[in-house]
Amino acid sequence: MPEIQTRQFGLVKFEETSVLHFPAGLPAFEARTRFLMIERAVTAPVVFLQSVDTPELCFCTVPVAAIDPDYQLAMTEEDARLLNAAGAPLCLVILAPTGAAGWTANLLAPVVIDLASRRAVQAVRADARYSHQHPVGVAKCS
């Protein structure tokens, strides 16, 4: 079984069939195409996107519904074609620390995942309907 040594989760074993494939990578990480979704009960609803090829690269995300249950997904034609989703995809938003605003979520560019095919794309919206720095609460883990 393939495995990677990660900083956050130690040794992670995985099935190749569970790997998410980003054909275009992610903005600023275009060469990073393979990721695992890692969830732990203690950090729910966070979904970690752990790079398979670069163990030190890991994104903290949450399902967009955890922030905005009424979120309206809108992908460009190009992204929709790249994703070629069969059914309703899973939408995750990437969290980042943003200076004085604390942690924020990028609702302007959700990670959209077709679970059946394991294809994924970070679909950057062309409209200005949502913020790329939507504030979320922060608390210290003990």
Binding site: Q8, E56, C58, I94, A96, T98, G137, V138, A139
Partner: protein, 71 residues
């Protein structure tokens, strides 16, 4: 900010090596053609911004100690 009006078919030159041509001008959208050297990165602004956010996110998690977002 330099503000210029152009019609479809007209062009702008930026520096010695970049040309922007207005290919089509619709009522809600403009189609632009851009000629630039290969090494010049051309991105939709919001894609550039997503890249910045991703870099911040990746860098933070690589330094993460005990801080975690909570909902």
């Amino acid at each position: 900010m330099l503000v210029i009006r152009r019609r479809a078919g007209e062009s702008l030159l930026i520096g010695d090596e970049i040309e922007i041509e207005i290919l089509e001008c619709g009522h809600s959208q403009v189609k632009l053609g851009i000629r630039a050297p290969k090494q010049v990165v051309i991105l939709r602004k919001e894609v550039h911004i997503a890249g910045e956010q991703n870099r911040r996110a990746a860098e933070a998690l690589s330094r993460l100690d005990s801080w975690m977002p909570k909902f």
